[in-house]
């Protein structure tokens, strides 16, 4: 009897559902909700002026969040160790989609990064984030204690394929996020320190060469360099960032009040509901709101690192660390560009920016982390 009880108790304790992380999900949900409100604040006015339903973007975002949650739950239902096997298929599919998007995609603002499927757009680059994480984590898990130069080259090749395709779109921001993720996984997978140093130096050299050799378009260089001399050019490349920084700075400690930001109402910040969503938070909710958002992301990062530490196997740990790196890179780059300390490279703020692919992938990442955590005893 006692054995039965203890067994039951043990099974109950080790039951995955018992080890969900409410803080993780709660933070993500709060960010998504806040993001939707901010999208409403930044778009309702101009939609009204155009006699379009002021909830147009809100409704689409809610649909994306619902899909994201479904995907998240779906991902958690499958044991993440099975994902390891499935990841190669996802990787292949992503690379294929990236090829297709280059050929048939819709070009928006200079980048060919998405297709239209009905009324919705799909951005394969976003999906590359999660699948590359899985594939890289899987590869590194297999060769965990033997990441010599040759293995490293293979790992880099795995990364280079989708990143190269994304570079061709071109979507610099996504590549930067992928680089951060890949580097972190390689770091955590035991790659030799000297190799990592060489890798860092290589990345820097590549960046310099890319700018010098004209691989990057002028507008990309302008974006990257405009943040350090903003003010010099208030109508061109620096305009976005000037307006964004002004909006954030206007917020003050407690903000102009919800729906009260003049920069937001006046639509002075381009792309405000997508890449510059943080400026709405900054202007209307002030430092308090901005710190709250950063705090929620910090909670997610904290819970993700905890999941990585508790992970039952290296694969789970590497997945979590990859996701962690992606979130940190995206938040730092996105909030950094909204506050003028990072160059403008069009990447969304996870959970908050308007855009289905980003929201769905962000929730999928949470699903992956939750998956690793909840199965740490099984």
């Amino acid at each position: 009897m006692a054995v039965v009880v203890s067994e039951r108790r043990e099974r109950f304790l080790s039951s995955p559902i018992r080890h969900l992380d409410p803080l993780l999900f709660g933070s993500a949900a709060l960010l998504a909700a806040l993001g939707t409100l901010m999208i409403y604040a930044s778009t309702r006015h101009r939609l009204e002026l155009q006699h379009i339903d002021p909830l147009y973007f809100v409704k689409r975002q809610v649909i994306a969040i619902v899909v994201g949650v479904v995907v998240m739950v779906g991902l958690m239902l499958i044991d993440y160790r099975r994902l390891r096997e499935l990841s190669l298929i996802g990787y292949g599919a992503t690379v294929f989609m990236l090829l297709v998007v280059l050929k048939f995609g819709v070009s928006v603002k200079g980048a060919q990064a998405r297709f239209d499927i009905g009324a919705f757009q799909v951005q394969p680059g976003e999906f590359a984030k999660i699948f590359l994480t899985l594939v890289l984590a899987a590869y590194c898990t297999i060769h965990r204690e033997e990441m010599g130069a040759r293995r490293l080259m293979i790992a880099l090749a795995i990364c280079a394929l989708p990143m190269g395709l994304i570079m061709l779109q071109p979507d610099l921001g996504t590549d930067l996020v992928l680089m951060a993720m890949a580097f972190t996984i390689l770091l955590m997978a035991g790659t030799k320190a000297r190799h990592l140093v060489v890798l860092l130096l290589l990345a820097m050299t590549l960046a310099v060469v890319a700018i010098d050799a004209g691989v990057l378009d002028q507008y990309q260089i302008d974006r990257l360099t405009s943040f350090d001399n903003s003010g010099a050019d208030t109508q061109g490349a620096g305009y976005n960032q000037d307006q964004a920084v002004t909006a954030v700075g206007t917020g003050g400690l407690t903000g102009q009040g919800l729906f009260g930001g003049s920069q937001t109402i006046g639509a002075h910040v381009p792309e405000q509901h997508t890449d510059f969503i943080f400026t709405v938070v900054g202007e209307e909710l002030g430092f308090v709101g901005g710190a709250f958002v950063l705090g929620l992301f910090a909670v997610i990062v904290w819970r993700t690192s905890r999941a990585a530490r508790l992970a039952q196997d290296p694969f789970g740990m590497l997945c979590c660390m990859g996701v962690l790196a992606m979130f940190v890179a995206q938040v730092f780059e996105n909030v950094g560009m909204a506050t003028g300390i990072m160059p403008v490279t069009g990447i969304p703020l996870p959970f908050m920016s308007y855009g289905g692919s980003s929201v769905i992938v962000s929730f999928a990442c949470i699903g992956l982390v939750g998956n690793v955590r909840m199965r740490r005893f099984s």
Partner: protein, 638 residues
Amino acid sequence: MSETRIRSSIVGVVVLALFSALFARLWYLQVAATDQFQAAAVSNSVREIVEPPLRGRILDAQGRVLVDNQVENQITVSRTLTPKQLHQVIVRLSPLLGTPIAKLNANLSDPRNSPFTAFRVADGVDESALVYIAEHRSDFPGVRAEAAPVRRYVNGSVAFHELGYLGEINSTELKAQVDPNQYRLGDEIGKSGVELTYESDLRGRPGVTKIEVDSSGRVIRRTATKPAQPGHDVRLTLDLDVQKTAESALQQGIDSARTVQDIAYKKQGFRKLNAPAGAVVVLDVATGSVVALASNPTFDANQFVHGIPLATWNWLGAKENNLPLVDRAVSGAYAPGSTFKLVTAEAGLNAGLITPTKTVNDPGQYSYPTDPKHPFLGEGANGHVALARALTVSSDAYFYSIGGDLFFRYHHQQPFGDELQKVAREFGFGAQTGIALPTESVGRVPDAAWKQKIHAANPVAFPYPDWLPGDNIQSAVGQGDVLVTPIQMASAYATLANGGTRFQPRIADEVLDASGKKLRDIAPITMGTVVIQARDTILAGLRGVVTDPKGTAAAAFAGLPAGLAAGKTGTAQAAPKQNTSWFVGLTPADNPKYVVLAMVEEGGYGAQTAAPIARAVIEQLNQLPVGPVVNVSPPRGN
């Protein structure tokens, strides 16, 4: 495991550093430096629309409108359009306005367009065209069709010099403004006359509407609207009827003078009077109020509305057109001739050189005792004359002798040596009267100090540093180096007439708001008092000028009812020019209420050209039929 822990610590440190950087940046932007961004956000979205105020009107003494504003439909095109857009707009406007494209393009490039305001392409546009443009805004980008007030000078050129005109504010005027919101580039400001001197009353305050716009320039909300405050009306002391008569009399007098011979021309042959210009001043002696102020030639201020064409401006500045913009009444300085004898009489009385009854023999000339070989000539012998008679017949010898005797006192450092100059200054000569009009001349009262000064400045042109007998003797009859303005002379006779109070000539008496409510009085200002001796004797002498058969202006005033007029003629040598013709009239003759001064440059004798002009104005002031102004030729006496 410890290896993994080290590595995850590295990741942790990096993550912590990045988040710290974001928090720090956010704190800096939103707490430490938020003020500068709030200012930037305001300038980002708030636009100020300034609505110019409706300018106040200028009224005459009876409240008749002299200057007001009329509404004019005009079409302007923004300067921000590209040349291509501009062309499209012009092509569309042309059939709508029924104006050829070439004409509209010419209007666009009209140099009178202010660079700070939109291009004015058409004036006086039909209401229907305005409506059409308003309804088809998208076809006419940058086009504004609006009813705008423009200045209107109701009586054309009448009182041009006193009323003045408007022009675009220049950078000097803009810098001089204390209140930066009162004017902006492109605004109009008074450039002359009352429009200039009463600018602060007439201007009003511009209205400011702050509108918040979004990044595409659409209006989000209007905030803090400050309505424009219309300018105040200024009521002048000027009487439109008297002014009109003064101007037409002056014009007729000048026209008439140009037909007659210059009898002072003693050289070979015959020449006519040039009479290029003149002035009339009418003062109310009790207050110093200006009832009329005319200067000829004159100009229609309506031509300044919308900016004056360059050719017209150049024409106005050319000497051969006699400079119509110059106000002879206050800016012109002339030798006063015999009209100055009033001053000499008072100086002589003060010094005890003459009495009202003491007679002086006038043999037609006068010599200073020490220099009998160089006599000063008069117009003819008048025998023994006392003060009144001396004025009536304008005896030069009588007044020469006062000048000579005063010089004797000066030369021997006796009292009253500078009495002539002292009295002249008491009457206001040699200084601005303070009339509220720009560019007033000071004239000149020459004395020993002045002579020293000009000699020191230019010893070649002025070889004598000392004040000589001739200087004082010539000054005594308003010749030599004495220079006066018509307004100074009129003011001096007004001082005589009212018994010795010298007023600042006053051109406006009230400021009213747009509803006609009085806001403030402009009270007469007393500049000083003059002790007038023998006023009755002098007035009797001046009555004789127009009534006595031997009075210098008797011919010009023949037929005027008795007791209406008195006055003094003046014929001032102005070589190489022809003589300046002066007449200072008083009406009525006993206890005069008005001074009527007429002056015509190169008009010959005072009695021939100026006196008939003054007579017409006196007729007007006394509600008599105003006769035609005809030159009295040949005249008699000076």
